[in-house]
Symmetry: C2
């Protein structure tokens, strides 16, 4: 939206103009929005800027048989604001880099924008600019999100210490089971939303809910020692926090909040529900650690969680890798979700 006319001038200008007309009125902090070389915005005084970028790629992160274009737009924004929330920050602006395949129609663009704008509004963010390019291959929606946070409220991955409790929001395994069900073809698809017991997990894969409020609450109240979002599975998340914090970790299998429909589906496939839920990606829950000292603050945050469950699942340890405690024994946890 701000720069090169990669789709040809007339074509790009028309598309950009079309997108601009669909954007809601921007806040006064956006001084120059889509249409110039770059967006210009006023950072709030005394805040740090938080920046992240993440792409969803056709054939890697989504399959157009399983997700509508609106779902894809929604998810592309969701995974980025989730990263902002995982830093304890408040999402503010979004840049949209669209790489569109041949034959991508105005109607397709509108459907994609429906989802983008829905999630952008839900996250109270503003589309400040972007770019449109042609793709000789897959559809790619690459989003950059910005956020702001006061200096002492940043939630990094590296702040955990041995003895800190590990928590996770919501449930795990849903998105992986939903995608599995879609791939197996076992689920009758009608429009974007399947019916039946797998509807929840499928919806989870298609439209993850970033835990924006919880990230902000943890940051504002300085209630967590470390935090990140779960894009590649709980096992990966715990490992990343443990590595960044220079600790090990133990998870308690019986405490894991596995989505019940997902657990049933994993079991029906002959998979170990615990391992499948631990390594299944795309849930976008937050995991975070709470030290003894922070426990009081964390209780306060929990009371404002508005129905979002938060579950203690284990603790950080002095070294020892990432282990799972189950049936009285310990096992090393395998690595997470692998696309390659």
């Amino acid at each position: 939206m701000n720069s090169r006319a990669d789709t040809g001038n007339a074509g790009e200008r028309a598309l950009i103009e079309h997108i601009r007309r669909r954007l809601p009125t921007p806040p006064p902090s956006l001084l120059i929005g889509p249409g110039d070389d770059a967006a210009v915005l006023t950072p709030a005084r005394g805040t740090l800027q938080v920046l992240t970028t993440d792409a969803v790629v056709e054939g890697v992160h989504f399959d157009r048989r399983f997700s509508s274009l609106s779902d894809i737009g929604y998810k592309a924004v969701a995974v980025n604001v989730s990263d902002i929330a995982a830093m304890g920050a408040t999402p503010e602006f979004v840049l949209l880099s669209l790489i569109l395949p041949d034959g991508f129609s105005r109607g397709d663009l509108d459907a994609l924008l429906d989802g983008v704008l829905e999630m952008a509004a839900q996250a109270q963010t503003t589309v400040a600019g972007g770019n449109i390019s042609r793709s000789p291959g897959p559809l790619i929606v690459d989003v950059t999100a910005t956020g702001s946070v006061r200096p002492r409220r940043v939630l990094a991955r590296s702040g955990g210490r041995a003895g800190d409790s590990i928590y996770v929001t919501g449930t795990i395994g849903g998105a992986a089971a939903g995608l599995g069900a879609l791939k197996s073809g076992a689920v009758p698809q009608e429009g974007a939303l399947a019916a039946g017991p797998m509807a929840g997990p499928i919806r989870r894969h298609q439209r993850p809910e970033p835990r924006l409020r919880m990230g902000m609450l943890l940051g504002r109240n300085r209630a967590a020692s470390a935090c990140m979002d779960l894009s590649d599975g709980l096992a990966d998340g715990v490992r990343q926090i443990a590595e960044a914090s220079g600790t090990g970790a133990i998870l308690e299998a019986s405490l894991l909040p596995i989505d019940p429909d997902a657990a049933a589906w994993f079991a029906a496939q002959g998979q170990d529900p615990v391992l499948s839920a631990l390594t299944g990606g795309d849930d976008y829950e937050l995991i975070f650690t709470v030290s003894k000292k922070l426990r009081g603050r964390f209780r306060g945050v929990e009371q404002h969680a508005r129905g979002l469950t938060v579950t203690r699942i284990g603790e950080l340890t002095e070294g020892g890798g990432v282990r799972l405690s189950r049936a009285g024994g310990f096992e090393l946890i395998p690595d997470g979700f692998t696309h390659f």
Copy 2:
């Protein structure tokens, strides 16, 4: 670098670690760099933030027969910092979203990074984060750049008024002629750099030089009424400024600073050198407008241009579209570069 392990955990972690090790020491304003959910940085007090994103896509913006991976990385950063400079701002941070095809080796990544880091260093920017995804199709390097600028120094496209002179930096037509020469196969290729009379234009296509210093000088001295960078040709640039400013424009054909090697090449192809140079994209020069009132300030800027030529090529008019004055007559200028 900050988010999902789209290439698989172990694979992505290794690649990210590899990239991190290659990054120079960041400035203290980067509080959290690659490796967390998002980058965290301190905006300078009293400045506005400038944000842009732009992708280079294999098969659309580059051909690996004509550009080395290092050239591609260089250009991906160059086109983004060029957008920042065109706002009168100083580039600061870069986020790197890499969509890598199957078989993209560690050596390929290193070559790409060579170019990214070369341009990032040249622009005095810091790679603050990014993301790596797998591509089932083309190689895509999508970059987001940030910059900062003091509030009254922003150079928007919309500030031109009828009577303002239009200027362009450097020369035009070079990149288009260089690409044309490469495509025609008429030029012996040796490594990234061809020899002979087309070496300059070819280099221009492969490694455009963003006019960072001139953008900053024009902003700091408030010496231009409107400004943008030339990604899609001069005709497109003038049209965009005229439209955003609510004016028309007249360009004087005899004043256009057409690259002489490019002009000779266009002529040899039986093309009109003026029209080819006007519509050829990818030069990344700046065009800007200067009102009578700003002329004194602009003279001051010119004296600090360090060898970069700046040429007056026409002026904004009260309406009338964008016209070319040539051989005593006027013609309407055709639309610019079209990828689609």
